[in-house]
Symmetry: C2
Subunit: 244 residues, 2 copies
C-alpha cells in the first residue's frame, strides 16, 4: 500500500464542512467519491483539520492509502478533472507509511478576514462589520493568547477532547486598507477556537468588553464566558506543518 | 432636481450585465428597483460603463436625478439595506447638474486577472490557464497599444459607435505569485475591448501567435483578425475618473 499526502484548496461556502455526513455535501465526501472513480475502489481520506461548514482552506492536508502505484502529477490532474470546481488539489506526494495528516501535524495556521465596509466581491470570504474597531486593543488580546493556555473558554462545549491546552506560537492583526487580517499559528486548535477568539477580540475592539474581561475569559476556562462566535465565512485554514 | 453620483462595487457572477434587460437580473435593474423603494418613484440610473454579463466592478459610477433632497450617508445606508448582497454602494454624493456618469467621464481603469494554476477560491474572479505564458512578450504587446489607435480589431462587431479610436494611457502586467494582473487605463473602451486584448495577448504569451501578428491585428482594424475573447469573470471595472 502506498501512503499519499494531498494539499487542498477549497471554497467552503457550499459545504457542510470537511467531515463526511450522510446528508450533506462535505469536502471529504467529494474527495472520496473522486478517488473512488479514479482508483476504482473505496478509499478513506484523513484530513488534518475538520473545518466547519462555510470555512475555507488554502492548504488543508489529507492522506489516503492506495493499493495502486500512484504517479503524482497525473493524480493531481485526474483529481482536478473529476472534483467539483470548489475543491482543487494543489499537490500529491508519496509519503512514509507512518504519515498521518492529523496526528503527524506539528502546527496549523489559520487566517481570519474582517471587512470594515460592506463588500459585494469579498462577501463570502470575510466578516463584514460596520462599527469602528480599536485595532490596538485587539492586538493586545492577540498577544495575551500566545503561549500554552487552557482554551476551554474558546471551545465549542460539545467537543470531546482529552484536554484543552494549546500552544499558540504567534498571532498578528494586520490592517490592509479597510480589511483586517488575523493570523494565528498553534500546535493544535479546539473546535470553534479561532472563531470564538475573533468574536471575543471584536467585542473588545468595539468597546463592548474591556481588556480585563478578555483576560478573565481566558482564565475562566468555561465557554459560556466568551463572546460571540465570528461567522465561518471569514476563516481560512492556511497551512499545516509537519516535521521533515 | 438633485443630481446624485453613486460609486458601486458588484460581483458580476449572477448578472446579465450592467444594462437593464426585460428578462434578466441586471445591475441597473436592481439599482433602479432599490431607488424606487427608497425614493417612492421611478428613477432612471445612468452608468459610466456598460459592463457585460459576468464582469465585476470595484468602482462603477452611476448618476440619477431625485426630486427629493438626498442626505448622502443615509442614502448609502438605505440602498445597501435594500440592495441584494452582490451590489454595494460605496458612496453617494450630490453633484453639479451637468454631471453625466458616462459622458462626463475622462477615463476608465480596468483590471484583468489570470491564474496560472487551478483555484477553488478565486475561480469566479479570474481566468484559470494551465499553459505557460511568456510574460515579457505580453508586456511588449501591452506597450504596443499605448497611445491613440483605432481598436476596431478589438471591438465586438455589432457595437454601434461613431468611431473606434481610443487613447490608451497605460498598460501593465504584474506577476503576483501564480496570478497575472493586467491593468489598462484609457479615455474610453469599446465593447469587449479589454477581453479581446487579453485573449490576443495570451495567444502571443503561449506562443500561438507572434509579436508581429499582434501588430498586424492592431493595424488590420477588423475584429475577425484578433484572437479569442478572454472570459468575463476575470475582468473588473476598477474606477472611472472625472475632471474635478
Amino acid at each position: 500500500m502506498q501512503n499519499v499526502k494531498l494539499v487542498l484548496e477549497y471554497d467552503g461556502t457550499d459545504f457542510v464542512g470537511w467531515q463526511y455526513q450522510e446528508n450533506g455535501r462535505s469536502v471529504q465526501g467529494e474527495l472520496e467519491r473522486a478517488l473512488k472513480q479514479i482508483l476504482q475502489g473505496d478509499t478513506r481520506v484523513t484530513g488534518a483539520g475538520r473545518t466547519d461548514a462555510g470555512v475555507h482552506a488554502r492548504g488543508q492536508v489529507a492522506n489516503f492509502r492506495s493499493a495502486q502505484k500512484i504517479e503524482e502529477t497525473s493524480l493531481v490532474r485526474s483529481l482536478n478533472g473529476v472534483l467539483p470546481k470548489d475543491i482543487v488539489v494543489l499537490s500529491a506526494e508519496g509519503v512514509d507509511d507512518k504519515f498521518h495528516a492529523r496526528y503527524s501535524a506539528k502546527g496549523r495556521h489559520y487566517k481570519y478576514y474582517i471587512s470594515q465596509h460592506p463588500t459585494a466581491l469579498f462577501r463570502k470570504y470575510c466578516w463584514s462589520l460596520s462599527y469602528k474597531l480599536d485595532i490596538d486593543l485587539m492586538k493586545q488580546c492577540g498577544r495575551l493568547v500566545i503561549g500554552e493556555h487552557d482554551f476551554s473558554s474558546f471551545c465549542k462545549s460539545e467537543s470531546e477532547v482529552e484536554h484543552h491546552r494549546c500552544n499558540v506560537l504567534s498571532t498578528t492583526w494586520t490592517v490592509r486598507d479597510s480589511v483586517l487580517e488575523f493570523d494565528i499559528s498553534a500546535n493544535r486548535f479546539l473546535h470553534g477556537m479561532v472563531r470564538a477568539l475573533v468574536g471575543t477580540m471584536v467585542d473588545v475592539g468595539r468597546g463592548y468588553r474591556r481588556m480585563e474581561d478578555f483576560e478573565d475569559i481566558l482564565s475562566a476556562k468555561n465557554r459560556t464566558a466568551a463572546g460571540m462566535t465570528a461567522p465561518a465565512c471569514g476563516l481560512f485554514l492556511e497551512h499545516v506543518t509537519y516535521e521533515q
